[in-house]
Structure formats: C-alpha cells, structure tokens
Symmetry: C3
Subunit: 472 residues, 3 copies
Amino acid sequence: MTSLQLHPDRALPFAPEQRRVAKQIYGETKDLPLICMHGHVEAEVFAEDRPFADPAQLLIVPDHYVFRMLASQGIDLAAVGVPRADGGAVESDSRKIWRTFCENWKLYRGTPSRYWLEHELVEVFGVDLVPSAETADAIYDRIAARVAEPQFRPRALLDRFNIEVISTTDSAFSRLQQHAKLAADGLGERVLPTFRPDAVVYLDRPAWRADIAELAAVSGIDTSTYDGFLDALRQRRAAFAEAGARATDHGHLSADTTPMDVDVARDLYSRVLAGADPTGAEVAAFAAGMLYRMAEMSCEDGLVMQIHPGVLRDHNTAIAKTHGQDKGYDIPVRTEFTKALRPMLERFGTHPRFRLILFTVDETVYSRELAPIAGAYPSVRLGAPWWFLDSPEGMRRFRESATETAGFYNTSGFVDDTRAYASIPARHDLFRRVDAGYLARLVLEHRLGLDEAVETAVDLAYHLPKQSYQRG
Amino acid sequence: MTSLQLHPDRALPFAPEQRRVAKQIYGETKDLPLICMHGHVEAEVFAEDRPFADPAQLLIVPDHYVFRMLASQGIDLAAVGVPRADGGAVESDSRKIWRTFCENWKLYRGTPSRYWLEHELVEVFGVDLVPSAETADAIYDRIAARVAEPQFRPRALLDRFNIEVISTTDSAFSRLQQHAKLAADGLGERVLPTFRPDAVVYLDRPAWRADIAELAAVSGIDTSTYDGFLDALRQRRAAFAEAGARATDHGHLSADTTPMDVDVARDLYSRVLAGADPTGAEVAAFAAGMLYRMAEMSCEDGLVMQIHPGVLRDHNTAIAKTHGQDKGYDIPVRTEFTKALRPMLERFGTHPRFRLILFTVDETVYSRELAPIAGAYPSVRLGAPWWFLDSPEGMRRFRESATETAGFYNTSGFVDDTRAYASIPARHDLFRRVDAGYLARLVLEHRLGLDEAVETAVDLAYHLPKQSYQRG
Amino acid sequence: MTSLQLHPDRALPFAPEQRRVAKQIYGETKDLPLICMHGHVEAEVFAEDRPFADPAQLLIVPDHYVFRMLASQGIDLAAVGVPRADGGAVESDSRKIWRTFCENWKLYRGTPSRYWLEHELVEVFGVDLVPSAETADAIYDRIAARVAEPQFRPRALLDRFNIEVISTTDSAFSRLQQHAKLAADGLGERVLPTFRPDAVVYLDRPAWRADIAELAAVSGIDTSTYDGFLDALRQRRAAFAEAGARATDHGHLSADTTPMDVDVARDLYSRVLAGADPTGAEVAAFAAGMLYRMAEMSCEDGLVMQIHPGVLRDHNTAIAKTHGQDKGYDIPVRTEFTKALRPMLERFGTHPRFRLILFTVDETVYSRELAPIAGAYPSVRLGAPWWFLDSPEGMRRFRESATETAGFYNTSGFVDDTRAYASIPARHDLFRRVDAGYLARLVLEHRLGLDEAVETAVDLAYHLPKQSYQRG
C-alpha cells in the first residue's frame, strides 16, 4: 500500500532549471495570506461555527466536481447521498458513500479534484493512505476524528488556512443576519457578504414573484413597480455595502448588457408580476437590461461588479427535477463579450468609480476578446480561470493567452470561487505554483527579470485581489 | 543521400527526464494489440484479400491527406491520378504520380502525413531512402516488390499489424455480403461492420430516393412511409448487430438532435419521396430528428452511437463535380454541442444501454462543452482526436484540454478512423507515444504516480476502446 | 539600477538541448534581409526623410499598443499626448509623457510591447537603462540625441535595419505622389504601395461620398454609377501596380464574400450616392460583394489579395469621438471563414493568377478553418500571426495549430504589419527566434531533420514572404 504524500514541488514545472527558478518565485508567495474575494461557503458556516459533519458529508455530498465524476461512470447521485429535491430516498450511510468514492479514486486521475483532495487529505486531515477499497474505512475514521476536534471548526480554520478575508455570496433579499452575528463576534471585516441579484432579475424563475415580495419585505420598499424594484435593489446594495460587501455577482447565461427602454421594462415587470408568462426573449432582454442597471448602480455606490456568464444551468431537466440545481449538469456554452458588453462599457467603462471583473468558461475569448477589452478599458479586470478552468492546464493557458495583451496588472489575481471550504488552501496554493512556473519560463527566456517575476507573483497572489475588489 | 530511419524515441518528448519516464510508459503499450473500432478500410479488402496495387495506387491516390497537400501547391488532382467523377482523363502512370509525390516531400514537413508515411516506408515496406526526385524510382520498386509478396496481402497484414479487431463502415442498405464471406472464412469476430445511415437521413442527397428503394429491397420492408422507413432501419440495425456490428456512425454537418414531431416527419418524408424538394431547413431538421431516433434505437438494440459532426463536405463544388466527394475540400465549421445534444441527452443520456461517442474537428469545444458533458452523463465518451486533429499537437492539446474535466475514463481510447490501411499501425503507435509523453509530465509534476500512469496508458491504448465499443 | 541588456538567447526556448538546436537554426536566419510586405509606415516618412521627432512622439503617441496599456490603468489618453479629434487639449510636454511611460514600465511585463521596446532601446538607440521614474530623463536625452543624427533618418534606417523591401498602405484614391517621389529618388523598388479600398467599399463611412468623388477625380473616371465605380477601382489598381504595388488589403469586419447581384449593387450604390442611408445589412452585403469583386480583379491584374477581418473598430464611440480612430479600442470578434470565403474560393480559389493571404485575430480558426482551407486551395496562404497575436506565445500557438494541416509552405512567412517603424527589426527577429524554437522541437522529437529545419526557417524568414507576395 503506497503512502499518500505531497511532493513539495508538485505542480511546478519539471525541467530542472525551470523548477529551480519557479521554486524561488513560489517560495516568496507560498506563505502569503489568502484573499478570498469570491466564493460560496455559506455565511452560516462561520456564524454558527459548528463542527463539520462526517467525511462524506464534508467532501463528497456537497462537491459537484466530485459527485458528477462518479455519476459520469454510472454511479447514481442518490447512491452517493446527493439529496433529492423530490424527497426521494438517497444513501444515508456516509461510510458506504465514502467507500464508493475511494473505490473510484482512479477516475480522478489528471483532474484538479484529485489535486485538491490529496492536498486536503494530507495537509488538512493528516491522512497518509491512498484512497482505495482497502483504505476507505481507515481514512474515514481519521477524517471523522479530525473534524470533531475544536481546531477544525470553521472559524479556527480561518486562522489555520491563513485566510485574511473571505466573501460569501448572498441573495439580494438576504437579511444579512449571519453577517450581523459575525460582525457582533468581531469577524465583520474578515467575512464579507456579496450581493447576488440573479434570482430577482430572471423573470422566469419559478420563485420570482415570491422573491420580489421578499425583496419588498426586507427592503421596506414597495416592489410592485419597476421603479420600486430598482429602489429596493439600491437599498439592498447600500445595506450590503454597510455590512462590508465589496462586490456584486451576476451569473447570467449571456454577457449581454443592452439597456432596456425604461417604459418597456416598467410594462414587462408589471405584466409578469401580475401573472403573465414572459417569453424567452423578454426574460433574456430584461436580464441584460438589469446588468446595465447594475453597472449604473456600481458607479453610484462603488460596489465592484463581477460577471460569470456562459453556463447553461441544469442541462438535464430530469436530474434538476429529482435532485435540484447545481448537480453537475451545468454545461458551458460559447460566450460572446465584445458586442455583449459594448453598451455597458461605452457608457460606464471609463467611469472612475466603476470596476468590472470578468470571468469565463469559454477559453476562446481570452486572447480574442477579454484581454483586448481589459487591455483598453480602465474599469475592467480579468478574473482568474473559473470553474472547469480552475486547474493546472487551465491556469497555464490563461496566462499564456491573456498576458501578452492584458499584461498582469489588468487581471484580478486569484479568486477561488468554491463551496468546498477545505479545498481553499489547495486552490490558492496551486495557482501560486502555476504562476511561478509561468513566470519562471519568462525569466529563463530572458523576457522578465527574476526580481520582476517575484514582485509580479506576490502581486498576483496577494495585492491584486485586494486592490481589484476595493470599493470604487 | 541521407538514409531514412525511424528514431526509436520519435514523437516522445525530448527533455531527458520526460523522455525517460515516457519511454517506460510507452514500453508497456507499444506491443499491445490494435483495437480499430472505427475506420474506412473497405470490407471488400479483407473479403477478397487481393494484393494491393502499386505504390501510387496504395499510398497517394486514395489518401486525401496526401493529395490535397499537393493540390494546395498547385498540382492538379488529375496529375496525381485522383479519379474523375465526370470520366475525364487522369494520370495513369503510377510511377509518374509517385515521382511527383517524392519531388514534393518537403511539403509534408511538420505534418502527421509525413510521420505516418515515414513509419510505413520503413516499418511496412523496408524502405531506407528519403523520398526525393532522385530516390523516387528506387522507392517505387521496393514497395512494388513488397506488395506483391503474399505476406503483404490484407489478411496477412492483420497479423503483422497486430490488429485484434477492425471495423469497416457500411451503408444502411449494405447487404453485408463481404462480412458474410468474412464470417464464413472465420474472420467474423475480427472484421466487423458499422452501420452508417447518413445517405438515407439527408433528404437532399441526389440518390436519396434510390437509396430508400434499395433500403426497402434489402430489408424487405416497405419504405414508402416514414414509419416503414424507421422499421427498415431497425431491421438493418438488427442485421448489422447479427453480423457483429458494435456501433453506428453519423457524419452530420451539425450536432443538432432536436426530435421532429412524428406527424411532421411523416408528412415531410412522404412529400420528398413523392418528388418534392425539401428546403435546407427541412433537410437539417429531418437529419437532427433522425439523430434523436437513432439514439432511441440504440437504447433498444445496444449499438454504440458515434457522431462525427462539423465538417462542411465538398466546399468546392467544382472539384466535387469533376472529382467526386472526399477530395480534400472538406472544411470544418464551428460546432455547437451543449444545446445541440440536449434533447437527446435529456431523454437518453442516463439510459443504461445507451453509449454515445463524440468526435469533433472544432477543438474549442474540448474544455468548454465536450469534457463537461462527458464528465457528467454516464452514456457519453469523448472519442479520440479526429481527422485534422489526429496528430502529435492535436492529441497533446486534446489531453491537456479535456482531461482535467472529463478525466481519462470518460474517453474512448484511440480510434484510427482511416481509409489508409498501411497507416494504421503508425497512427496507433503515435497515439501511444503522445499519451506516454503527456502522462510522463503528470508523473514528473507529481500529479500522478508512475504505476498509475502505466495503467492509464494501457487502458487508453487497449482496454478503453474495447470497453467503450461494447454493445449496451 | 539594473542595466538594460538584451540577452543573445532571449525568446529562444530555455531547455538546454532545445536552445542549442534553436540557436543553430536562428543563426542561419538572424542576418537575412527583412521582407516587409505589409505595414503602416507612411510613404511620406520615406519620401520626406525628415528626422523623427522626440522620443514620446516617436515611441508612445503613435503606438496604440503602448498607450492603450496606459489607458487600461486609468491614464487618460490626453495625458500621454494622444491627439484629440475634437481639438481638445492634450499633453504637449514630450518629456512629461515620456516620464509617465517610464514610471509605468511594469505594466508591460509579459507583453510583446516590452520585448520590442527593449530591443529598440538597446539596439536602435543604444540605451542601457531600465525605464523608471529615475531613468526617464536620461533615456529621453539619449534617444533625443540619437534621432537628431543623420544616420537615424528614415531612409538611412532602411539600410541599418537591413530592409530589402517595405510596403506602405495607401487609400484607393491616393495619388501616389510620395511613391512617385520615391521612384524618382531611386527607391521605387524598395518602398512599395499597397491598395486599400476599405474607405470606398463601406457605404456608411461618414466621408464615403466625398471619397467617391475623390476617387473620380484621381482616376479620371466618372464614379456616379456602380459600373463607373468598379472601373475607377480597376484604374487605380492598375496605377498601383504600375507604381510597384504587389498587393491589396481589406480590413473588413466579417470575411463574408457573397457576391451581390449586379443590379442590386447598382441600385444600392446609386441610392446611397444620392443621399440615402443604407441599412446595416446593406452595408455589410455591399462590402462582402466588393471582396468578391476584388478577388475577380486580382485574377485579372495579379495583385495579391490580403484580408484582415474580425476587428470591431472603435468599440468605445466616445473615445472615437474625442480622439479619433485606432486609439486602442479596437476589439476582435469571433470570425467565420469556411462559409464566408466559400463563394470567392469556389469561383476563384483555383485560378492560377489568384493569391489570397488570410489573417485573423481569432485563433480558434487556425486548426479548424484556415489550415484546412490553405491546405487545399492552391491560391491561399496563411498570413503571419497578426496584431494581438504577433507575440511569442501567439506565434508559437500559430505554428502548433496550423502546421500539421497546412504545412509550412502554405504560410506567408513573416508580415510585420506595424506603424512603429523602429520596432520592425525587433518583430522580425522575434519571429525568427520563435520559429527556431518550434523547429528545434521538431528536430529533437525526430519529426524533422536539422538540415530540413534550417531550410524551412530560411524559407519562412525570407523566401516565403517574397514568393507569397509575387504578383500573379
């Protein structure tokens, strides 16, 4: 039985001269605090600070990267405990779920999940066994024992993980109660909310009318008209900013930002609120118009705007019906930015308070659209490689494709964007290693001095995310 | 005159440490039998087992990779013996054709054709001269002598090439007579048919009505209605399965799988059969609907479904008129999969008997669409890099772009997909070398153990193609 | 203060064995004369042969790569002296502009601008200081002194830069007076015009009617009808050819080449000339139709046709209004070639006098569309990586993506395409270094002999651009 170990030079380039330089660069970034400006760990996790559940509930059941790979080989989601939205039964024996995962360890070869999980097993949980049918129980016991210890509580991990600041993602109508508790506990500067209004800008969401009512209740502003709706959003943005938020986040299918004529928007809003079904085109146009409005509000209140476009959610409707959203069947689509962002950028792109951070899961836009846009508009920064691209090869291609036109200083530095809390250190560490490798190549090809490479690496790991998410 | 030699480490990475590990990995795969689950060598070649013609007729005239490169530099197709569909004269002096090819050897620098041809010349034909005007005749003589020997007959080469199993591609209305002969000769398990119905699902093919009539004749089922047409297809699929077929193949322009309303399909089918000209939109919609129907039938009969979309055939109509189809003027177009496959995958994507293998000549979909789809749906496997991408760089980019999301085990392993019989060993060998190089990098970057890399390489070369093409 | 030096092996691969081979190859190309078949240095520069202005006016103000990077970090274009179209004031203190640039040197890390500028500073101007706030004045003084010397006049630099031939770009209605002067001065074979009719084929250009009138005046042909317009273009093409032009150039948004029905074109042309506003669709269709016509004329007069599609000019209308065109806000869009070029290629693609050189800023088309097209049609060559892709990584990806299907001999060799005269040697040199690295890898992977690699490198650097731009 091989022992599970993390090689100190993992994910650094293997060529001896490149590894040597990369290690020098990585040596200057590896211990820097983590700046986690966008992610999906729930505020409740920090506010309640309860111990994590068992290994399966911590590492498998909530991680769509992990369970979709099992599903892709014919293992039913229910068999690995993924809850059903329809109330159907799912596997509840966490040890059994864990065994299924360990037996299928080889599926993760070559994936970032494997990389993160190895890091978590060794660094966070002190496991030294390679997952397999034989080792599953022993690993389970080790992790279960660890998560029961007080130093593995979520707040304690903030220190252990060296997290300087972390952002949650919160709906526009969140009352921010968890964040109030965090502030009362002295964590108000360390755990920040992020304003995410997707639920209320997509007119076809099943819960839209209920959410609009909730928005009124929370904001104290009548949302029965489009103007009231906008005012309520303004009020919530102000409340978020007050609670420490630095940014908004927008997960749209398209990056379209065409403004909607106000009278058209008023009419459409009222009709749908009154019960009418909007057409697909109306839904898309309203959402696009709301991106434009959100940019306008960012110029007013200085909240940094993030756009995460181009993912077709719940590709498999049957799975969405049985298991709910975000169950591994979110598939990217080709995404256009040049024309889509033009209305917004023409109007707000050079506004001194505006800051826009762009993400993509369509790599073809790095050199063609995003780098030229970020390399021209002062408001724009390129976000880090996202989701399927948050990986060694994905990060390398990002640097190789975007840097020559955007430079380093029009990028945001690393953004982990995960709901897997225990994977956060692994993700930041991997980014720092990949960047060190890329910068080492520039040094060895005499395109950059070593001192410049080190300064750039430190900026990418630490200063740029802080600076990019500064309120305008 | 330099001597033509194959370096034992060709196409392995050059960095000493990577080459060392890659050689270890490649050493474990290089002698594995070849699994050739999809290709275009004609069944007749094996059924008749006649000696191959001369060098030009074997290596140049039938190989569109080879003659389109000559054409691209102004050498007329007729001058290298490519037959004319219009009956016009073409060069018939094979020695002259061979000379033209040898004189232009430098055009192939950096191409996979060069790589395959070198392998064939040395390994298959024992040539040790670099092609040139001076060496053309000597090489011609050597190959001509070889192909006359009994051990160079097609069936003998099956052994020499270490081919465990090979699939042909056969039209839906093939009577499978060659396969019957092969079965009678004891080759029924080694040479398998593949069901390709493109000719009868594209309503605008000039021979469509004749082919539909032939389908009726072969199947014994009345194809005068859409329902009869579907029944005839079912009958042929059953006959193919009976003859050993494991798969169907679909070469559509688009990957669209939107089902067509049955009444609409019935009406359209009848109208076109009665002589009406379908619109372009009708042709495309009917073909898309047939992909959906074919998936449905695969769930019934377990035949693996292959889709090869995204090539605009016969870009140059004039060439197609004079020389016929497949004459090097097939040019890829951007291809969309996420939305296109959704109707099929929502309906059949998690069906236990369904297996779908997807190919592309649009690399942009690897990380954006195909890997996420294969990394979620249990029925889906990514095929090997296809056509223009079946090359060292193409294979490398495929692994680098697809693996992190799909893993290795949602890919099909190698599929040679060629009509150039003599190039088959070279193609499999190249794939094994490129994979060894990629896996060696993962090992050296401490992302994979060497034992895992070897197991993965063996799976990709041998077990995965066998398993991926197992009838459901 | 570090001294600024050019490492002799810069931009060559760092791996010792690869660098060794790459140096051997590069050693054979580095001193070859520069063939500059397409670019934007004004004919006036050579005709007048005046000394260059100060460092800021030479290196910053006219270079959109340089000033857009400053703008992207919030430095106003006016602050670095970029002239305003609206007559507004801009910074006129060149020393101050130069300081702003030097203070922001770090923004260029990892960009080709940095690479070119270092080369220019050291090689052309003898600067040995790294730009910074502290060194700005000293560097300014050094450059200012240099450009005042007679050997730094534009014509003298032709020799110093080892430029064998250079093309300017000239509007269709240029009177070619500067070229007449150059011919009179014995430079008629060394500085050539290029015919660029964009201004007159886009019906919605504000100056269109005026330009059409000018075309009539220059050609002496009545342009009040579409037929007259075509005749005037023919006349100008002949005049350009007479003046030494080898090529035409077409900077269209789309690559569409659908011919326009002659009667439709006549009517549209007349209506717009009479004052009607064309629709967007009419503008696009007319421009596409004119590409087709231009190809037709190329078959008549043998001028090589270049297409540079896919850039949305002046993305930010406000900047275009204040500062004019080409101010860094030109953003690429996805570009389709397979269907777009089909009408032209079906008609003229195999014509013996036709030569088409295709450029792109959408890399996704290299392997999918451009290489297959160039690898089939005898008239087509792939141009060098253009604009945002004229960079170390961009060039490497081009070779890796295009070579396997197009080979080397269906590419044009290097085309610098710059308005930054002093950067021309740096650009050619970089291309030769990157190609040497790519070819070295092929040699070390035993895919190409060293002698073949050297011959190929020399062809790419020198012979192919000469041959590709030969009049048909």
